[in-house]
């Protein structure tokens, strides 16, 4: 039971400090730019702002803002899984901050869907049984993500209740919280795999390097890895940004690094095994730009395996951080490739996001980071050992 000692050493505490600074103002400016283009989209239609077309009908507002952003928001899912389901208490200090990042990632992912939906005023149909189409992967994804956002807010609510001193409510909630924790693991498993399943029905429109019946499994594994990697990233960035000492968290991060390496080995084995099984290995080399993208993906996945397989590296943040970064880049590229680069609709069709499209996505990310900063400064979220000095 000695792994519990770290829990006692690190009750969560607000970081405190000023909210207005150069960084937060810059983030707000990016949000402002996005708001302008979002306004244009709602007045003039999607075509006025984006480059999407009927061959590439899903642009980065779907592929980045939802498919990748929810992957980045899998920290809470991954940490809840190892902490509560595998019952490894040593990870507990990082659950809260991971959940907070997930909360904003998913909430904003869910809200940004409304920007992309052509007939957004009908969105509630997703939750109305009269309209359900249970055979649709999109139904599963949409309903699951909506429910998961609710679950995240409930999982997070003890933080707010604690902050405002609602002790009794907090206690009552804590007694049923295990149900929401379970849902908080089940729902992401379902929709993260389904994000891959979305492509199955597209058949020959998706290049054989990415089109496979294993899509749901591959998407689920990358979601888990992204969750662990993003926790390493968050802790490191919070350490730099808030000048915090993270010696106490480092052993946890190195264990996460180990898990990432293990899961990635399974992922790569499945990926190449599947290509061999489908006799598609030669398309690794003869598919032009798609071969190049596949190669970059594979390198980005292989690098963290190579680094994190060595126990010495896992103990050093200077090795853990680039490995986690590479993992996230690889998984992001994998999702971009599967949805956009692999999309084959004939030579007449092209897609590259427009500047306003990119600026809206940037604004959504900025809002997410901004919300995270405000919350960790005001609420007890990060493990509460003292800051290095000042602030």
């Amino acid at each position: 039971m000695n792994n519990r000692s770290s829990v006692r050493a690190m009750p969560s505490r607000p970081v405190g400090g000023r909210l207005v600074g150069l960084f937060t103002v810059a983030l707000s400016a990016l949000v402002g730019v996005a708001v302008y283009f979002i306004y244009q989209r709602f007045v003039y239609g999607l075509g006025a702002v984006t480059n999407i077309n009927n061959a590439y009908t899903w642009g980065i507002w779907v592929v980045w803002d939802v498919v990748i952003a929810t992957g980045f928001a899998c920290g809470g899912y991954a940490m809840a899984f190892v902490t509560y389901i595998l019952n490894r208490g040593e990870y507990h200090p990082l659950v809260r901050s991971a959940l907070t990042a997930s909360l904003f990632g998913y909430t904003l992912g869910g809200l940004s869907v409304l920007i992309d939906l052509g007939r957004y005023w009908n969105f509630w149909h997703i939750l109305s049984p009269a309209y359900f189409n249970t055979g649709s992967v999109m139904f599963e994804v949409a309903a699951c993500i909506t429910l998961y956002i609710l679950v995240l807010w409930i999982e997070f609510s003890p933080v707010a209740l604690e902050h405002y001193g609602f002790k009794r409510t907090n206690k009552a909630l804590n007694s049923v919280l295990f149900l929401f924790i379970a849902l908080g693991v089940l729902l992401p498993s379902m929709h993260q795999s389904s994000l891959g399943s979305l492509l199955v029905v597209m058949g020959f429109h998706i290049h054989p390097l990415w089109q496979t019946p294993l899509l749901p499994v591959l998407f689920l594994l990358t979601a888990l890895c992204m969750g662990f990697a993003v926790v390493i990233l968050e802790v490191t960035l919070a350490a730099v940004g808030f000048k915090r000492d993270i010696h106490a968290e480092l052993p946890i991060l190195s264990k996460l690094g180990q898990i990432i390496a293990l899961v990635l080995v399974v992922f790569l084995a499945l990926r190449f095994g599947d290509l061999a099984w489908r006799n598609a290995l030669e398309s690794v080399f003869n598919s032009g730009i798609r071969s190049v993208m596949f190669g970059i993906e594979t390198l980005l996945f292989a690098y963290p395996v190579w680094v994190l397989a060595q126990p010495g590296n896992r103990a050093r943040l200077s090795k853990l951080f680039p490995a986690a970064f590479s993992m996230l880049a690889g998984a992001s590229l994998y999702r971009i490739d599967a949805f956009l680069v692999a999309n084959e609709r004939g030579p007449a069709w092209h897609y590259f996001p427009s500047a306003p499209e990119i600026l809206v996505t940037t604004g959504v990310i900025a809002l997410e980071v901004l919300a995270y900063i405000v919350f960790v400064k005001k609420f007890p979220i990060l493990p509460g050992h003292p800051a290095v000095q000042g602030r």
Binding site: I85, H125, F132, T134, M138, M190, S193, V201, M202
Partner: protein
């Protein structure tokens, strides 16, 4: 405790993994959904490329019947000039040209027409993928129609159609999905779709699916060059014209593709020359996708089992952690 944990992993996650594996490998015959079959009284079109003269009367009639705006892609402002299906165009006559373009319906030094429109699949992907049942297949006629009042605009039908048919309207804040709905408003009044009604040669021919199957067989049996009678508007209209039969390619497009379509094509030029996808599987993508979904989520049985396992583990995990915390605060 360690044993419990392992048991849980084996039971819960193992079960989930097994379900996933079954679904993805398609090895669960009890849950597998095969192709849907054509309704008993289904209707359809036969489009015979060798009869089409490229007059585009169908295009024009379609725009009028469906109150669709004109498209000017030549900058002259004189004609409706759609280049392909679009948010403003449900059907379009496309043309294949090769070399000197001297011979109609020949692949070399020839030309040929092809009418693009919704094929009204027997097992449509758009109906399968729509999360809110905005795409529906009429159980009697088999017509695939669109309900804008239900649609959320997610565009999965656009991405999911194997034939690239549904078109989203990007140029308006209140967009719809544009696609041929077989002039269901005219059918309801006892008429036939506008394009077939206005086709002067019977290249677009309306009829019951069965009658059209017989008509396809009749034409395939014709001797190229020999005079034959071809009906206009509907297969049994009695309004016929005589002309020499053309030399058809082997493939009847829509006969087997994706489990078959209710709009079928005959042509003198191979269909890939028109840019149509060829070599498509006979098993519909809708059935592949739905088999995967139903195996994983059918009756929510697998998720319920996994949730029970997760809840048990989380209950123990949360109790230990929070008890530990409370004790030391």
């Amino acid at each position: 405790m360690t044993v419990n944990r392992r048991d849980f992993l084996r039971g819960g996650l193992g079960g989930a993994a097994a379900v996933t594996a079954c679904a993805t490998l398609g090895v669960d015959p009890a849950e597998a959904r095969g192709n849907l079959t054509v309704p008993e009284n289904a209707i359809g079109f036969l489009y015979d490329s060798t009869l089409c003269i490229g007059c585009k009367a169908c295009q024009s009639a379609c725009k009028t019947a469906n109150e669709l705006p004109f498209e000017d892609n030549t900058g002259t402002g004189l004609w409706d000039t759609p280049l392909d299906l679009s948010g403003k165009t449900y059907t379009v006559i496309k043309m294949y040209q090769n070399g000197t373009s001297e011979h109609k319906d020949k692949a070399v030094d020839g030309f040929a027409h092809l009418k693009r429109q919704c094929l009204h699949c027997i097992d449509p992907s758009c109906v399968s993928v729509c999360p809110v049942q905005a795409m529906r297949k009429d159980p009697v006629t088999g017509v695939v129609s669109y309900d804008a009042d239900a649609c959320i605009g997610c565009r999965y039908c656009v991405a999911g159609c194997p034939f690239g048919v549904p078109q989203f309207q990007y140029d308006t804040p209140f967009p719809r999905i544009a696609k041929c709905q077989f002039c269901k408003h005219i059918l309801a009044k006892g008429g036939i779709p506008a394009c077939a009604q206005h086709c002067p040669t019977g290249a677009t021919l309306f009829g019951s699916y069965k009658a059209l199957t017989a008509e396809i067989e009749r034409r395939k049996a014709m001797k190229p060059g020999q005079p034959n009678l071809f009906p206009r508007r509907t297969v049994d209209s009695g309004d016929t014209h005589e002309r020499p039969a053309a030399e058809y390619t082997e493939q009847v497009y829509g006969d087997k593709e994706m489990g078959g379509t209710q709009v079928r094509y005959l042509a003198g030029v191979p269909f890939d020359k028109f840019g149509m996808p060829v070599g498509l599987p006979e098993r519909s993508y809708a059935s592949v996708s739905e088999t995967m979904q139903h195996s994983l989520y059918g009756g929510l049985i697998a998720p319920a089992i996994v949730l029970a396992g997760l809840a048990a583990a989380a209950w123990r995990g949360a109790r230990e952690l929070h008890h530990d915390e409370d004790g030391h605060e």
